[in-house]
Symmetry: C2
């Protein structure tokens, strides 16, 4: 690693390396998010576009295409497609979760109403669908159709599984694939497909995106219990207060004494929380050291992501993707 590698975040370096293409993606997003007829649409979408975000998913598509030597321009459409699917999902998520804030700004469902969020989300799905049809690749369409189904299924599963103590690590993994990893892997895989990469490389790109997404989500769920709120923008224990069964708790439930089980039932399943419960939850997780075990899992997925890259060509982008996997879990210690 040179000094530049150490001091700059890998996704910032990647954004710089792909800045020309990212600009084309942003411009396409702005054009296609608009609507000639319904003025509410540009109002809501402008709010989302201005909120920014890291645009990590479209960047992964561009990175995969570049890494496989692509020289056309369909990856721009594909990257915008991926961001549209992500944004549509966020709009619907905020309705489902009744969220009031995202990225430190009021959510669309709060600024307008749930109706607008549901319908503008549907509009963005439809726009993403038009964009991907323009790539003319049935294989890309197949990947994104399957990812969409996995995402929706994962969201439904999360809704019913989040407050159910029978939720084990395998169900958790399914939920995580739906809410995060499916779009990461579709982003990288479809970037390879559009570039005409060979099957083993396409598979490697899928594996990378899948493992990176899982590491990313596990890290997120862990930071909810150990992060400092200034860095994450969330308060410690938000997931506990919202009765979301995530990996650190699932690992504690699996080993719970009868008394501890009663505690989780009361606080997570029934939601009858009182002062001191978060401290108690953290104490039980500390007893079984589940925060460490969760970090070990996240690190293992990050290693898996890096290993997948081995069959891909040597390239500065490949190094950045490797660093990105490290970075996702480096936040944890």
């Amino acid at each position: 690693m040179n000094i530049n590698t150490v001091t700059t975040k890998p996704h910032d370096r990647m954004a710089k390396a792909l800045s020309h293409e990212m600009e084309a993606v942003n411009s396409l997003i702005r054009t296609r998010m608009a609507s000639e007829h319904a003025p509410r649409i540009p109002e809501v979408t402008a709010h989302l576009v201005e909120a920014g975000g890291k645009r990590l998913r479209p960047m992964l598509t561009l990175a995969a295409a570049r890494l496989c030597g692509y020289e056309g321009d369909h990856h721009i459409r594909l990257a915008a497609t991926v961001e549209f699917i992500h944004t549509a999902t966020l709009l619907h998520d905020d309705v489902v979760d009744e969220s009031a804030q995202r990225r430190g700004r009021p959510t669309a469902n709060l600024l307008w109403d749930n109706k607008s969020s549901v319908l503008v989300g549907d509009y963005l799905f439809a726009r993403s669908f038009q964009l991907m049809v323009e790539t003319g690749s049935l294989r890309v369409l197949d990947i994104l159709a399957n990812a969409s189904a996995t995402i929706a299924e994962g969201e439904v599963l999360q809704m019913t599984a989040a407050q159910d103590l029978r939720t084990d690590e395998s169900v958790y993994l399914q939920v995580v694939r739906g809410k995060t990893a499916a779009l990461f892997s579709a982003a990288t895989e479809s970037g390879g497909v559009i570039a005409g990469a060979e099957d083993a490389q396409v598979q490697a790109l899928f594996d990378y995106g899948d493992a990176l997404g899982i590491a990313f989500q596990i890290a997120d769920d862990l930071l909810d219990y150990q992060g400092d709120s200034a860095a994450t923008g969330k308060n410690v224990g938000d997931d506990f207060r919202e009765r979301k069964l995530t990996l650190p708790v699932i690992k504690a439930v699996a080993q719970a004494t009868e008394e501890e089980r009663a505690f989780w039932q009361r606080t997570i399943e029934k939601g009858r929380q009182q002062d001191g419960d978060l401290e108690q939850a953290l104490a039980i997780m500390g007893k079984y050291d589940t925060l460490t075990a969760t970090r070990v899992d996240a690190e293992a997925w990050a290693e898996k992501a890096k290993a997948a890259l081995d069959v891909l060509p040597e390239h500065e982008i490949r190094d950045m993707l490797r660093d990105l996997a490290d970075y996702v879990v480096a936040r944890l210690s």
Copy 2:
């Protein structure tokens, strides 16, 4: 017309003529509506499947394909796709409209919750997307992507335009295309495309679906003011009470005196309704005879639908499609 034609509804005759294929569609719908992982999905979708409905849209796809001599089986997937898009739209509509009943049964958002309706709707969109990719036709995908965007845009437009007296007949037409005609025309057009019909016939099928959908929706909006509630399952004036600006009112607003304009502002824009307002609204519409003018419009669209069929081959299905256009407006007098 033979006796059979006179006594049986055209969509029932069509269902009989296409019964073998409709069964295949229903079976495919049942298979693909399920979910291996998330039990909430089959619960909600079973509720919708059992509710039945006429399955008019998938029937139009099958009819178009048959009329154009198609002999493959992709039209079955396409018909199921169309029904999935329709069902997903209904789920989201009921959330947006806060509906409690559909087809005489409690809605999914009432039986479960808004979250389930939003997410299961998303799931059905994704499943429809997978099904249409299986047809392997980029042209079909293009048609359905564009229809999806028109539908979503129309829904957003309706949300903002429905209670705004500036909404004129051209905006109304856009809303109607979004909420009804776009899926009708996509159903017929894509049926022709999958059958490999020539361009003029594909265009005719689009025109037929578009005009039929518009006639259908105008008729629906008219029946809200003149129908008997036993036949329609709705109470006279529901749209007025829900402050929906539909064609009979739009025509009255366009000719309103200052006093009448104040009445529409109070009742539709501000929603401050009181006893006797519906009767007053009907009296104003009677003064300008807007119910008749609306019926004339619906009949003109039905004629347009029938005329479009002229370039298509002579066929019993073509006769049924023609009768269907007549039937849609025959309810009105």
